[in-house]
Amino acid sequence: MSEFVFATAQYESGDWDSAPLVPANLIDSIARYTSIPVAPTGAVVPLASSDALRFPFLFLTGHLPVRFSEQERGTIRKYLDRGGFLFIDDHNHDIDGAFHKTVTEEIVRAGGPLVRVPKRHALYSSFFQFPDGPPNTSHELNGWGDNLLHPELSAVLRGDRIALLYSNKDYSSEWSYHPENKRFSSVDNTRFGVNIVVYALTR
């Protein structure tokens, strides 16, 4: 049985590597809380390459404007249709920000319309329980970015399955720290990341 590999999508525009510690942190959480075989290091895969299909879970983040190439759009379309799971997070936490405006356009163009994920969705109970929907980040609570609390996530569906999950809660900042520093937190804030991975692996 192959291991779960946390893969980060590398795209040609923008800054795809803006949250370099997120993969290691989530890999640590998956190994810590679950018995899912997980590769100890993540992978980086160009979105324009068909190699992206070898990794059915992809993480994509950034601050800067995003314009996917035709090849990248084609890969995303095929990836979602075949059962891949793409998690995109807005590293700006700003609905007026360049990343949000451009990436949502690109998502609709490549994958289809974005719909709200209701708070009772299986995503919020796939491993840990989040009865109030997506957990808020410290960046939202501290009033950074657009100074808003975003109560819901958005998604592109294939059937009733989330194929692409989009967040503008800035989990990229929230989870971008060395895993060893979890011991200083009373509650591990990466637990929702485990839910996302478990959902991707089981639905």
Binding site: M1, D51, F127, L201, T202
Partner: protein, 429 residues
């Protein structure tokens, strides 16, 4: 001593006598071959009105004329007349019979299987409640097959018969239970089966004591599950329970690490080799399963049949155990088939392969249907009800025979002609 002239006269008398005897025998034969007193013979297109008439005034015997085998309604009516004392016979143009069968497909969501049997060369038109579905000519094998889902009963109209058929029972398949570790293999196997119409329940282990569940199935028995797909070696399935499930008719597919599950070993005592890598680049080629890592499977129990091989080594093995069936597939990470980037048909191939494996073991539940009017094999049903037919144009006696009537007539004519010629040559009128 008789003169030459008196001998010739004697010969003329003999010839005249032969002619008279031949004509007499011919007349008697024709008299006997005609309908018996009180026998009513009717053509197929007049059978409706004849049945009404025979019911009002029953003849001593009646014969339904040559043509297609009588329909079920006519057959029942003729049978009622026979039981009322009338001798019923029927004629047919051929004794090959025609039959039509409609069955549900073995996989959920697929069109039904329709099969027609008749004499080679027979033209047939397939229809359903909404009208014509297809038409064709029966080939040399005498069989035709369609994949379609007719609305209501299907009928196959030909010159020989008009059989009508619909599925006698519905092939209801209970859910398939997928057991495994949370991972890409379980996710994509579930997706493939669901996309092909199966109802899938799943128990995917995420952590000790944490299981992601899908669907309503809570126990493994043939009243709840048609097949179990086992994808890992650690799922908490007890061997005796799984063994009883298979013995009772349930299906089991063990794949990847699932081939090494103790419960599977207890059932098929399969010896699974260590993993061998797939052929580099084969995932993009015409035989993509060659690109998967595999384990050779050698079943220790008798009766195991290799279904797929890599080289000479069996990698998929099937076996009947009790009333159930087991397939052990040594392929690993079959989800890679679906995500092969170059081939556009990769998802459908992956779907079809998994669906066929599960279909080959799944226990179907046959539910009788209210099928209404059907007449699947009119010829056979008529033979069953009224006995064997008289072949049209044939004598009541079986076997080939000489054309006696023609011979007798020719003999009479030849005798008279010879007698007349002899008299004329003698100078007598």
């Amino acid at each position: 001593m008789r003169s030459r002239g008196s001998g010739r006269v004697l010969a003329e008398h003999v010839l005249r006598g032969v002619a008279v005897v031949a004509l007499t025998v011919l007349a008697v034969r024709l008299w006997r071959a005609g309908p018996a007193p009180g026998d009513a013979v009717v053509a197929p297109n007049a059978l409706d009105s004849a049945l009404v008439q025979w019911t009002a005034n029953p003849p001593a015997s009646a014969t339904a004329g040559a043509g297609p085998a009588p329909s079920a309604r006519h057959r029942d009516w003729l049978l009622a007349l026979r039981r009322n004392g009338t001798t019923i016979r029927w004629r047919s143009e051929d004794s090959s019979g025609s039959a039509l069968v409609v069955e549900d497909a073995p996989l959920p969501g697929l069109p039904r299987r329709i099969r027609f049997r008749s004499q080679p060369g027979t033209s047939v038109m397939l229809s359903d409640l909404l009208g014509r579905v297809d038409s064709g000519t029966v080939g040399a094998s005498g069989a035709m097959a369609w994949r379609a889902s007719p609305v209501g009963a299907a009928s196959a109209v030909s010159a020989r018969a008009e059989p009508v058929a619909s599925p006698r029972d519905s092939l209801a398949v209970r859910p398939v239970l997928v057991l495994g570790q949370a991972g890409w293999e379980g996710k994509f196997v579930i997706a493939a089966l669901e996309e092909d119409g199966w109802r899938v329940s799943a128990r995917l282990t995420v952590a000790p004591g944490a299981v992601v569940m899908q669907g309503p199935v809570s126990r493994i028995d043939t009243s709840s599950v048609s097949a179990v797909v086992l994808l890992d070696s650690l799922s908490p399935v007890e061997a005796p329970r799984l063994q009883r499930f298979v013995q009772d008719g349930g299906g089991l597919v063990a794949a990847g690490p699932g081939t090494r599950h103790p419960a599977v070993r207890a059932i098929v005592t399969a010896r699974v080799s260590s993993s061998a890598p797939g052929v580099l680049g084969a995932l993009q080629g015409p035989a993509p399963r060659e690109g998967l890592a595999t384990r050779t499977v050698r079943a220790g129990t008798p009766g195991a049949i290799p279904i797929e091989r890599r080289g000479n080594d069996p990698v998929v093995v099937g076996q009947r155990i009790g009333a159930g069936r087991v397939v052990v597939a040594g392929y690993e990470d079959t989800w890679r088939l679906r995500m092969a980037p170059v081939r556009d048909d990769a998802p459908s191939d992956h779907r079809a392969w998994w669906s066929s494996m599960v279909a080959s073991v799944a226990l179907p539940r046959l539910l009788p249907r209210d099928i209404g009017y059907i007449d699947e094999a009119p010829f056979a049903a008529t033979v069953d009800a009224l006995g064997r037919p008289q072949l049209a144009g044939a004598d009541r006696r079986a076997g080939p025979r000489l054309p006696w009537e023609a011979l007798l007539l020719a003999l009479a004519l030849a005798g008279l002609l010879a007698e007349w010629a002899s008299r004329r040559l003698r100078g007598q009128s």
